[in-house]
């Protein structure tokens, strides 16, 4: 009878959690490596259009980003709903692009400055008027390599 009274010893042993920190650390390092902290706070809506023929931007250090789109809903009372250009952390006028390109170029070491790419992250509802103005300003500022930022996918894929 005594064998039924035995406690503890007979049951399934507790699973060792000693390796749990290792697993968590592994995940932690994965996210630490893949993470890219957003440098700017987006003030504009930014739903990028879809495209299939995409190229990946190599060398992040050589890329400067500018954003275009209508201001986010909570900012529309202050800035209106017309699409605007955002440079760094604030709204800007297209005429400020030349100055901005200069500052961005300063941050890149001299030998690689001609390789600078400007990535245009525009909302899909933006009108081409603004984009054309931006392109003209970029031409004036001698920043000729551009990249229209898109999401991978068939064109108009969420509307058909």
């Amino acid at each position: 009878m005594s064998r039924f009274k035995r406690k503890g010893k007979g049951g399934t042993p507790a699973i060792s959690t000693a390796s749990l920190p290792d697993i968590v650390f592994m995940l932690l390092f994965f996210f630490m490596v893949t993470t890219t902290m957003r440098e700017v706070t987006l003030l504009v809506k930014n739903t990028k259009p879809f495209a299939t023929e995409i190229q990946k931007l190599e060398r992040k250090s050589l890329v400067a980003y500018l954003y275009a789109g209508s201001p986010k809903n909570r900012l529309q009372g202050q800035y209106g709903s017309q699409p605007k250009l955002q440079l760094n952390d604030s709204f800007a006028d297209v005429t400020q692009i030349a100055q901005w390109v200069e500052t961005e170029k300063e941050a890149i070491n001299e030998a690689e400055r001609p390789l600078m790419t400007v990535s245009i992250k525009a909302d899909r509802d933006t009108k081409m008027g603004l984009i054309s103005d931006i392109k003209q300003e970029l031409r004036k500022a001698q920043a000729l390599k551009i990249n229209y930022s898109v999401r991978p996918g068939e064109i108009f894929s969420d509307q058909k």
């Binding site: 968590v24 009108k127 970029l138 551009i146």
Partner: protein
């Protein structure tokens, strides 16, 4: 005095600390991969005399986008789904059709848009035109080397590129109306 052994530090809370960090990175992570359509803008020509030589009209494929996102190719309305094929035919004409391009090296696609065209439509058209070139390059690579263009070595890629140079001109903005 008797020496006491230093007590072992309890590592049980290590997992908690790691979890805390993990959650922080999970929340802040955006995984923002930068992909897009690359283009090179033409430099501004200030000197009138340095204007590029004129191009024969038959070598220019005019793509027009009006303010209602209507697509017009060589003055005719066209659906976006047909644009890729039309562009391919134009580039790869090699003088077959006397009204179309002489050869891919001379063919230029001129993309004009109105100030009221939507960015989404513009990107869609850019995408189709790029796709036309990419498909032609793929076909040529398949014919010469038996592999897709993207799998070629750098030198072979250059060779194909020189056969089918991507000439898409984004004209200066005009107000086309309509």
């Amino acid at each position: 005095m008797a020496r006491r052994e230093a007590p072992e530090i309890n590592a049980g809370s290590m997992a908690d600390i790691a979890f805390l960090l993990l959650i922080f990175f999970l929340v802040t992570t955006t995984m923002d991969v930068d992909k897009g359509i690359s283009r090179k803008l033409p430099p501004i020509i200030e000197d009138e005399q340095e204007k590029p030589p004129p191009i024969k009209e038959k070598n220019v494929f005019v793509v027009l986008l009006n303010s209602q996102d209507g697509l017009f190719v060589e003055d005719d309305y066209m659906d976006i789904d047909d644009l890729r094929e039309a562009a391919k035919e134009f580039i790869d004409n090699f003088g077959k059709d006397p009204l179309s391009s002489d050869n891919p090296n001379k063919a230029v696609i001129s993309l004009q848009n109105d100030r009221g065209t939507s960015y989404e439509m513009f990107i869609a058209v850019q995408n189709e035109l790029t796709a036309a070139y990419n498909e032609l390059r793929d076909e040529e690579a398949m014919r010469v080397h038996g592999v897709l263009y993207s799998e070629l070595a750098k030198d072979d890629k250059k060779e194909i590129q020189s056969k089918y140079p991507m000439k898409i001109s984004e004209a200066e903005p005009v107000s086309l109306g309509g």
